[in-house]
């Protein structure tokens, strides 16, 4: 007996993602698939073009932030695998530890510039409030992740920071459940809870950016958009390109 493994089985899904048979349309998988395709259409998730106004260095800092976060996560995984003795005493461990710390510096550096740029663009316009809010909350959670990272250094610096911070944390009443002098608790927050939340929020943030598109610049006052020539970067573009959210032809 021979079994043909070369032909993929018919899973009952049409090419456009809809249910192949009418009676399947009410299934949970079909509903979930349709909802995902409607909320996150593939052509918006992975576009080939961006609007002309994106041709500016100020739009680069979001992706620098994400790239730095990727290095933070990967180096953090390596540190978790190898352990404290390795990152404290071996030259390679010290190097990876430094990579972890400096990628965090780049992460915050780029994120602050990204934040300034989006603030002055009023990037919450055009149904982009959720994009803005997930960015703000991920920034706040990132501060907590960095703080617990300082507390997990196992050196005099972390001892100093924890003893200075405990009074501030205790004054809020949170010290009962969040003890900054408890190394084990701070390490778990640093390597498990807070990275999970940061990655989740950043993922949602990026998906929202893809779904809603990059916020267009403000229209110039007193003159209609079609009449105003302007430039983005070194090459001239029409204002129509700068104020719409359509991709360039």
């Amino acid at each position: 007996m021979t079994i043909d493994t070369g032909t993929p089985p018919d899973l009952g899904v049409a090419a456009d993602g809809s249910a192949g048979l009418p009676e399947d349309a009410g299934q949970l998988t079909a509903k979930l698939r349709n909802a995902a395709l409607e909320a996150l259409p593939p052509e918006r998730m992975m576009p080939d073009r961006q609007p002309a106004y994106v041709a500016s260095w100020i739009y680069v800092f979001g992706v620098i932030t994400v790239a730095a976060l990727a290095v933070v996560i990967v180096t953090g995984m390596v540190l978790s695998v190898m352990g404290p003795t390795w990152w404290h005493l071996s030259s390679t461990g010290l190097f990876v530890n430094s990579l972890h710390m400096w990628s965090v510096e780049i992460f915050f550096f780029a994120m602050i510039i990204h934040l300034w740029g989006k603030f002055f663009m009023a990037a919450w316009r055009g149904r982009r409030r959720a994009t803005w809010i997930t960015g703000v909350v991920s920034f706040v959670v990132s501060v907590g992740a960095a703080f617990t990272g300082y507390l997990s250094q196992q050196n005099f610096d972390s001892q100093w920071i924890s003893t200075q911070a405990k009074d501030g944390i205790n004054s809020t009443g949170a010290g009962a459940i969040f003890n900054v002098t408890n190394f084990g608790q701070m390490l778990m927050w640093h390597i498990m809870l807070l990275p999970l939340v940061v990655v989740l929020l950043v993922g949602i943030h990026v998906l929202l950016v893809r779904r809603r598109g990059v916020v267009p610049p403000f229209a110039l006052p007193d003159r209609s958009a079609e009449q105003v020539p302007t430039t983005v970067g070194s090459a001239p573009v029409t204002a129509n390109e700068t104020i719409t959210n359509e991709v360039t032809p």
Partner: protein
Amino acid sequence: MESLSAVMYQVFGSLINLDGPGHYVHWGFIQISVANIVVIGLMVVVFVAAILIPFRRRERGDR
């Protein structure tokens, strides 16, 4: 590798000596380290540069 790290240590160690207490700026009730001021200043400089420096765009014919 060890010799390279020793050279790097000598070069950067002679330029920036971090083996001591930090330097702080006091202004009323505000106290901030010089290191943090430098980083904030760098962020402002990069922010302004990102707005002013032209971004090279591909010509339409190339796309």
